[in-house]
């Protein structure tokens, strides 16, 4: 995947899609954490929230990797997980969109 070229407009579109997915995922996480926190009543609940935040932080740190060598994989994962729609990547060329759709299918379930 290292030999894929990204035009300037594709880079802009990819960055926009990447940021949009991140914002959506963070918004969902915030809603989840606020909901979880509102029901905390024991020390176990507290540390369960802590463990959950540790895991999500680690996961997000690894997932949102903007290196161009990784971007096709990252975007495919974001589509697969529902944070992006394939339609939102229409500004990428057909080769990239085909790869993303293929990866998306490949890892489905």
């Amino acid at each position: 995947m290292n030999d894929i070229n990204w035009s300037k407009s594709e880079k802009q579109a990819a960055r926009k899609a990447f940021d949009t997915a991140y914002e959506r995922e963070i918004a969902a996480l915030i809603a989840n954490v606020r909901e979880q926190a509102s029901t905390i009543s024991t020390v176990d609940d507290l540390w369960q929230l802590h463990d959950f935040l540790s895991a999500r932080r680690h996961d997000l740190d690894g997932k949102y990797d903007y290196r161009y060598s990784m971007l096709i994989f990252v975007l495919a994962r974001l589509v697969r997980e529902g944070w992006l729609d394939l339609d939102e990547l229409n500004e990428l060329d057909i080769e990239k969109r085909t790869k993303i759709a293929a990866l998306n299918q490949l890892f489905k379930d």
Copy 2:
């Protein structure tokens, strides 16, 4: 402090005070976390809550050490931090209460 003897009734009283302080501190922490979580609106707020929980968990794990060799120090700290009142340790003998009060004074501010 290792040569301090704890009678059976003192052990029961110390355990009760220790558990009471823990419950109070956890209840205050839960209230704090619920309050903090309810105001989360950015990813920075999320990780700030995570860092806060990491620090508090580490602190609590270290602080609530029930070894009898540590108990005078632990009880003094719990009094100093306001989780216990000296009056709640009335069932300990005068020597232990004097040590606790002295440690409490020593580390004040």
